[in-house]
Amino acid sequence: MEEFIKMALGFAGITAPAEDLPVLAAQLAGMGEAAALVQSIQLNEFVPALIFEPEVGAHD
């Protein structure tokens, strides 16, 4: 996992200090759990992403 992270960051032009890699690996695992939670609620093609709103943020 740490090698994968190192490679992915390198692809983005980022050289992470070695001590960051295990912390990032743990964070990625946590992100996976959160993503799984989101799968449990309805996110389908009928829910447009908010980013496409002309007025991002508060709705009137």
Binding site: T15, D20, L24, A34, V38, I41, H59
Partner: protein
């Protein structure tokens, strides 16, 4: 009589207007307090003593010659160090911007100066606003005035500490995942995150473009209303700013809350420390006696809030800092650097799904606001934690301090809703607790009405840290 440095704008303004008090005398009192306590609190990063006294003398001259500009004229105020200030260093709490001096004021700073404030300095913050503790490896941690071994909360921690301890009459902060409400709650002051688009962000170092909000921190709800009236309104320089009429926030405070309906979301804002929860329940009882109708409600969509918040904030912050992170990663503090690196690893799919979740969360709020005028929740689930503590054990379960703070704050950021944090009292350890009052889009008047009604009954009235 309350010391000058602990009086509110609402108390000071009439004295200044009637020339019973000079802005110079007031500014000297605040600067003296700052000189005495800043070494202990580290709330200020830059103190503008000479400039502030010069502005105070000018305000005195104007007022004494009959040109009183309004309730902020001659009031000493310091702002978070991410608001651009013309000719004054603006570090955003970072080493990267340590020597950055803007040549223009942020729109909100200019509006406060136009209203006649005396700018006393720039306040400590979590590096680039990307954190909730205000532990800062570059400029030192901000310390909570109620217990200086504990965090102020962040990212606007210097602002909340300065206001709580009398080092600034009021302040401005920013809130992307609770950065106004969290330190306000932990330091026992009032903080408002207004509706997205209500207050300009021009000239504010960004954290996350679609979640950032600018708002006031003060010692009373009335002061928050006064500051909001001064800074709110459309700004051509901020494309997210809305052309909506500015409310009469201060006048609205007298309207009371009788007949208003408040919801308590029972499926989300749960798991608070017992003292936080007890003070929240007592606050609800007080509001019910004042005529507020309170009942429980569910918003199942909020289960996705923490995911959406963390994905979006990380991805957007990493986009903003990408070049700096590539060029000199070790120029960032370790905690912020790791968050930015994590943001580089978020996929486009995750970002889009977070945006979808955000849409659902907005719909969830829209649904319940058909039945309620405001929603009530603890501002944060914890009191101020000791500096350096990242995890707590509650009921045998480890709790990540940052995630706990962000969890309660995130829904109002994601939906762009106004949310006011008011103090609800102290814990058994003598640490402040807070309640947030969340309103409909552009419903600032209503949240302030509920806030001021509760404030009159709050057990924290007239209590200050550090004497």
């Amino acid at each position: 009589m309350t010391e000058l440095y602990y009086q509110t704008i609402g108390e000071l303004a009439p004295k200044l207007q009637r020339k019973e008090l000079s802005p110079v005398e007031l500014t000297e009192a605040v600067l003296k307090r700052t000189e005495a306590l800043n070494p202990k609190l580290n709330a200020y990063l830059t103190i503008l003593e000479k400039e502030a006294l010069q502005q105070a003398r000018q305000a005195e001259q104007e007022i004494f010659s009959g040109h009183w500009r309004g309730p902020l004229h001659g009031i000493p105020i310091a702002v978070k160090d991410l608001f651009h200030t013309d000719g004054v260093k603006t570090t955003a709490g970072s080493a990267i911007l340590r020597d950055f001096t803007p040549q223009e004021n942020a729109t909100v700073v200019q509006r406060l100066l136009d209203a006649g404030i005396v700018l006393t300095g720039k306040l400590n913050m979590h590096e680039f606003a990307f954190g909730v503790t205000n532990e800062n490896p570059h400029f030192g941690d901000a310390h909570n005035p109620w217990d200086t071994n504990r965090i102020t909360g962040g990212s606007s921690g210097g602002s909340a500490a300065a206001v709580a301890a009398g080092l600034s009459v009021a302040s401005l902060g920013t809130d992307t995942g609770g950065s106004i409400r969290t330190p306000s709650s932990l330091c026992g002051v009032v903080g408002l995150k207004p509706t997205f688009g209500r207050v300009s962000k021009h000239g504010v170092v960004p954290l996350s473009w679609s979640l950032d909000h600018v708002g006031p921190i003060a010692r009373s709800v009335e002061d928050v209303a006064i500051l909001l009236e001064a800074i709110a309104g459309h700004d051509m320089k901020d494309p997210t700013s809305k052309k909506r009429e500015i409310g009469s926030y201060r006048n609205a405070l007298a309207s009371g809350t009788r007949g208003l309906r408040a919801g308590v979301v029972r499926n989300y804002y749960i798991g608070a420390e017992p003292d936080v929860e007890n003070n929240f329940r007592e606050a609800i009882k007080s509001l019910e006696t004042a005529g507020l109708h309170v009942s429980e409600v569910e918003i199942p969509e909020l289960d996705a809030a923490l995911f959406a918040e963390m994905i979006m904030i990380s991805a957007e912050a990493s986009a903003y800092h990408h070049e700096s992170l590539a060029a000199s990663p070790t120029a960032f503090g370790a905690d912020v650097r790791i968050l930015l690196e994590a943001g580089e690893l978020i996929s486009a799919v995750q970002y889009i799904k977070a945006q979808q979740a955000r849409r659902l969360i907005q719909e969830g709020f829209r649904r319940v606001f058909d039945q309620f005028d405001v929603l009530l929740a603890p501002s944060v689930p914890l009191t101020a934690t000791p500096i350096g503590v990242r995890q707590l054990q509650t009921g045998g379960m480890p709790i990540d301090v940052t995630m706990a703070f962000v969890q309660f704050a995130a829904p109002a950021n994601l939906a762009g809703l106004p949310s006011l944090s008011v103090p609800t009292g102290l814990s058994a350890e003598g640490l402040p607790t807070g309640m947030q009052i969340i309103g409909k889009p552009f419903g600032e008047e209503t949240v302030l009405r509920v806030g001021v009604e509760y404030e009159a009954m709050s057990p924290l009235q007239e209590k200050h840290p550090l004497g």
